[in-house]
Symmetry: C2
Subunit: 322 residues, 2 copies
């Protein structure tokens, strides 16, 4: 591969002149610059970015930490974040945390060693020290901790929309899937849902799944187990993937949807629109979350003060399950 | 943040000694090493990895190029590849190519500039020059070109399994979704399927989608359009996502599955097991593809000769759609 010396030789100038021409630093005549650019192009010269990174102490890499890259919510969020980072000239490093211990800590250590310029975290902080990194961190759909800006959906509105959809349909006894966690922003959807159901005298059977245990097989297993145990319910509120699990278990047991059982999903991922009936669900604005998360990161990278938390509106998708 | 000078001062030694102790190079007494490690720990010292990368001319980053990070096949493949790369100590950079021109070329240029040590490509090479990079490239489920090792599923077997499932069920007229492309390895599933159908006198209506156009909305649109136009068929062969699109359109039109219409999907992603009936489909071994792809990359990074192409077995999932 051609090096800077080859370019200098071909252009008939010194190495320092090539460096100035390619970095756009210092004076250089238009004619010489043109000669150097032509030589670099002819030799397919690529500057070693590692040297540039070291001199800038910056890589333009942003790390994205997610519990699971395959889960439809996170896969879509990653797609939109990667595209958004690209618009700002940043490259995207990913790290999935749910199958290996200590990965959050290792990723944070990489940030400290300057491997990345910042981290967008869709996972919890592993410990108190993670709040003291002194480098840009943005929390999307999780609560990293004090002083770390957050971007999340309007889950209060989401919980209300789900409750109203089931209440308006006349449900009297519902199955509600949630998960315990470190006070994530989406906890609100569960508390609001429970409150509204109680206010209207609707019985709620609670199923609390493991925190951040996001694989399909697990969701299939718990939804099937609880759905078959509670075939008497007339409503379900669960994440998209869990809602499909409930729908499959109910249909298999011969229960008609939506006549006998109404189901409201949460997330609004693409799969909710691939089935018949389509899933009635609360849709998070995935491009909106990605955009706000990346913009917040860019603000921090530019040395601006930490912006206020951003709450992104949700909407109700009317499918055929209510 | 503490620097190497702070560690040297606290340990009462010179900067060079700290560097030798932390890099494990050159002689240093056990006592001094211990003192230095204690000082580094007390100060939470993190070496600047950019300097290390420059001196090694290596980053331990592997780039993964995919058409779309949200598509269930690629999202799962990414999950397994990222975990597998981690096992070997590599970090994962991602790049989705289907919405922006020239991204393949930009990613290749990053490889040339030493930003990454290698690329695992699940997309086509953008041009002939991409074959002459002189850096490690592995093609997974695509054909990058001459001299680039490939890892792909046994699509000949996959096409045969799909054909036999529909033939054994007595289908006489089927809808077959494929896409034109640059001779990707999976083209075999389509050619084998067509051949077997013709041999058995089964009529095949061909729908050729756009190459690498992978979003759900597109699949929903084309499957609905062709399914509603050909409600007379008794069989469908399509990718998982397209199979769901066909199923939804057929159910909406009142066609019973599998009594009147048999559907065989292809890929075997997690969503195929979330519905009732579950999708009968050919399953690609996603962990197996990821493992073989990463191992091939590691072989190239170790300077070994390019390994032979690897063909990963597929299997048939018996759902309730045939």
């Amino acid at each position: 591969m051609a090096g800077i010396k080859d370019v200098a030789r071909r252009a008939g100038v010194g190495v320092g002149t090539v460096s100035r021409a390619l970095n756009g630093s210092g004076y250089i005549s238009e004619e010489t610059r043109k000669k150097i650019l032509e030589a670099a192009k002819a030799l397919d010269y690529q500057p070693n970015e590692l040297a540039k990174n070291l001199s800038r102490n910056k890589t333009d890499f942003i790390g994205i930490m997610m519990p699971n890259l395959e889960h439809p919510f996170f896969a879509s969020l990653l797609k939109y974040m990667e595209l958004e980072l690209y618009r700002y000239g940043y490259k995207c490093m990913v790290c999935s945390t749910d199958q290996i211990d200590h990965r959050e800590q290792e990723f944070i250590d990489m940030l400290k060693r300057n491997v990345m310029d910042g981290i967008i975290a869709c996972v919890d902080a592993p410990n108190e020290e993670a709040l003291e990194i002194g480098r840009p961190v943005v929390s999307v759909e999780r609560r990293w901790g004090e002083g770390i800006p957050m971007v999340y959906s309007d889950h209060e509105m989401g919980g209300r929309m789900a409750a109203e959809a089931l209440l308006n349909a006349g449900c009297r006894k519902v199955l509600h899937f949630s998960s315990q966690g470190k006070n994530p922003p989406f906890e609100k959807r569960h508390t609001v849902f429970r409150t509204l159901m109680r206010e209207h005298g609707v019985e709620v059977i609670e199923v609390e799944g493991e925190w951040n245990h996001m694989d399909y097989a697990y969701d299939r297993e718990i939804t099937r187990r609880y759905m078959l145990r509670h075939l008497e319910v007339d409503g379900v509120f669960a994440s998209d993937v869990q809602a499909f699990g409930c729908m499959a278990a109910a249909l298999e047991a011969g229960i008609r949807i939506p006549e006998k059982l109404k189901i409201v999903g949460y997330d609004g991922t693409e799969i909710t629109r691939m089935t018949y009936p389509a899933l009635t669900c609360v849709c998070q604005d995935l491009p909106g979350l990605a955009k706000a998360g990346v913009q917040t990161m860019v603000t921090l990278l530019e040395g601006e003060p930490s912006p206020a938390d951003q709450v992104i509106p949700v909407s109700l998708q009317t499918g055929g399950t209510v």
